[in-house]
């Protein structure tokens, strides 16, 4: 096996392999075309050489004492027609050279008939091609064996061969280039399903965990099956997370509710100041942990939903109205009221309803929590520059000396809120929702008093 370099790309690998094969085939083509050309040129040259030799042999005439040789010049002109080659001849009678070049090499086996024997030998520093024929000539009535050898240098043949070789080479090159183009196209065609699959997966949002359903070539089936298996496992893990969040919520909140209720009852039935103070702490701790647990679970839900976004077309006004309806009784407990201004027309947003409600609810909860009571909480929704901008303004204690950006960090709370129950996760949730919905969130001190939280989201 040839050790192939390790290619990172299938396409590259395919192209290189196809080019190697094409090069090999081109070389074979060149070699075989040249060999055929060689053989056919040699055969045609041989037949001329053979014909010339036979022509000379046929002119041998027997006599009383010797053999009469009359070289037919036509024979040589036949040979001479094929270029500037030099021609040699030798005629032997009974083993003695009677005319011609006495040192012209003999064939390996003596030629006995008019069927020429062809052979190649070096002669006078050149490779020559020879033909030999034999016949019997009567000398004084006795048959004597005569041999005629004709040799020819091969420069004409070499020229023809060279010409044909260069044509073969050109043919081979042409073949190679054509193959190269075809190899590139083939590689592209072979890799295309992989590319289309990759593109289809790439176009998906990072949260799209639906299995791949598009038809793929058989070879990609195992890959797609493995991919779908992975996605299914991921989806299952995510839904287990959801179930876990629900059950955790149930198991944490139910005992806390019991604890809190008992504390409230005890508060109602005791007169002892010392006990009341303790119960107050218990209730506060229960509220604190239930709020933290709630926010942690909310945070987990937001993270989970961000991973598995269920987008729909929403009217942001509806989201705000729903949150306010749920928050109204809590606000009422503190004699707070909402002053809401929203555009007359719909404010279309494409997003996850649950995430958006979580964000708005956290902001409204904060405004309620940090307001002193008997105040208004302003909610202003307006639309500008392709953004829906929701501002929530309260007259509470504001951010203290912390920056709004710091407060969106996990478990970071303002330095001025130690006396109020909180988890430090609310604004983190808002920020994460803003991020998941390609929006922005900032919170700052409001002029005069209070805080101003602004959530901007791109319009659908």
């Amino acid at each position: 096996m040839i050790a192939l370099p390790r290619f990172r790309s299938i396409r590259q690998r395919l192209v290189v392999l196809l080019l190697l094969a094409a090069a090999l085939l081109s070389v074979l083509l060149f070699i075989s075309v040249r060999a055929i050309a060689w053989a056919s040129v040699e055969a045609s040259q041989d037949s001329i050489l053979g014909a010339a030799t036979i022509a000379i042999a046929e002119e041998l005439r027997g006599g009383e004492e010797s053999v009469l040789v009359e070289i037919p010049y036509a024979a040589f002109s036949m040979l001479g027609s094929s270029g500037e080659d030099r021609i040699f001849y030798r005629i032997l009678v009974g083993g003695d050279t009677v005319t011609g070049y006495g040192d012209l090499p003999l064939p390996a086996t003596e030629a006995t008939g008019l069927e020429p024997v062809f052979y190649s030998r070096p002669y006078q520093g050149e490779a020559i091609r020879l033909a030999a024929v034999g016949r019997s000539v009567l000398v004084g009535g006795v048959p004597v064996k005569a041999q005629v050898l004709v040799g020819q240098t091969r420069s004409a043949q070499a020229q023809i061969i060279a010409r044909m070789s260069s044509r073969a080479a050109a043919l081979g090159m042409g073949f190679f280039f054509l193959s190269a183009v075809l190899a590139l196209l083939t590689a592209q065609a072979v890799v295309r399903p992989v590319n289309t699959l990759a593109e289809a997966l790439g176009r998906r949002g990072p949260q799209d965990l639906r299995p791949v359903r598009r038809p793929v070539p058989d070879e990609l089936d195992p890959l797609v099956a493995a991919l779908n298996g992975l996605m299914a496992r991921l989806t299952a893990a995510l839904s287990r997370t959801e179930t876990f969040i629900a059950e955790a919520a149930h198991h944490i909140r139910t005992p806390l509710a019991t604890l809190r209720t008992h504390a409230e009852i005890a508060q109602r039935i005791t007169e002892e100041e010392e006990v009341l103070a303790r119960l107050r702490e218990i209730r506060r701790a229960a509220d604190d942990s239930s709020r933290s647990a709630g926010q942690l679970l909310d945070h987990a839900t937001v993270a989970y939903r961000t991973d598995q976004r269920a987008e729909e077309d929403l009217d942001l006004r509806g989201v705000i109205a729903d949150v306010l309806r749920a928050a109204e009784p809590t606000a009422e407990l503190k004699d707070l009221h909402f002053v809401v201004s929203v555009p007359d027309g719909p404010v279309p947003i494409r997003g996850d309803r649950l995430l958006l409600e979580s964000a708005v609810r956290n902001l409204v909860d904060n405004a309620i929590k940090y307001s002193d009571g008997d105040d208004a909480i302003d909610l202003r929704l307006d639309v500008a520059n392709g953004l829906a901008r929701l501002a929530i303004l309260d007259r509470g204690r504001g951010l203290g000396d912390r920056q709004g950006r710091d407060l969106t960090r996990r478990f970071t709370r303002g330095s001025n809120v130690a006396d109020v129950v909180g988890s430090g996760l609310g604004l983190t949730i808002v920020r994460e929702v803003a991020r998941a919905q390609s929006g922005t969130f900032r919170i700052e001190n409001r002029e005069g008093k209070g805080a101003c939280a602004i959530l901007s989201l791109p319009l659908a």
Binding site: P255, R280, D287
Partner: protein, 221 residues
């Protein structure tokens, strides 16, 4: 008022019932949907408090059946899940409102009033004291022909005093009942609200006395 509490966690059910009876409500407890049906078959209720996860079914199924049977008793669901999706599902199934466990009884009270107001139900919530008629549902005090609106904290303060007239409440006790732990409460908050309630009581025979060094009480002259 008469409550039906449908909750399978016995500890929680018992404590919620005990807490509600402190406010003078009557509470029946059912541990399952079947038990709830038994109660509903024989008694009328002003409000149903419903847990979602029950041993013999889902509270949402109960809601659907309840609405399908055209029973108009308002239902407030108590859920352990705070997500909006859960809330939407609960409201869609026909609940009037929902509370996330653990809940503040002040919040339950506020939601209850809101639900009863919305439904303009048959629940009688009026209470008389001296020459006053107090209606927590409409948040009003009636003195003869005159109706005075109460703000929420004034209303709850009135409820606290009315639950035990002549009892002396310390500032801390009032604070505990008027505010939740999540509220930021200033030192003079109770004085502020007592002062406001006193103004609403002006002209009636009811008055809030300051018992120096101890607290406040509601008395009739």
């Amino acid at each position: 008022m008469r409550f039906l509490l449908i909750e399978d966690n016995a500890d929680l059910a018992q404590s919620v019932a005990a807490r509600l009876s402190l406010d003078g409500h009557a509470v029946d407890v059912a541990g399952s949907l079947a038990g709830a049906e038994d109660h509903l078959a024989v008694a009328g209720y002003d409000l149903i408090l419903l847990d979602i996860m029950l041993p013999d079914g889902d509270g949402r199924d109960f809601l659907r059946l309840h609405r399908a049977a055209n029973r108009d008793t308002p239902v407030i669901v108590m859920t352990a899940r705070s997500e909006v999706s859960e809330r939407i599902a609960i409201l869609d199934a026909g609940a009037d409102d929902y509370l996330t466990k653990p809940f503040d009884f002040n919040e339950l009270g506020a939601r209850m009033r809101a639900v009863l107001r919305r439904r303009a139900g048959s629940a009688r919530t009026e209470r008389s004291f001296a020459d006053l008629v107090f209606d927590p549902l409409t948040a009003t005090l009636r003195l003869g022909d005159e109706t005075r609106d109460l703000r929420n904290r004034e209303l709850r303060l009135m409820e606290i005093f009315l639950s035990a007239p002549d009892r002396i409440y310390s500032k801390d006790q009032l604070c505990d009942r008027l505010f939740s732990a999540a509220d930021a409460v200033s030192d003079n908050a109770i004085e502020v609200y007592v002062g406001r309630l006193r103004r609403k009581l002006e002209g009636s025979r009811a008055r809030i006395e300051t018992v120096r060094g101890v607290g406040y009480r509601l008395t009739a002259q």
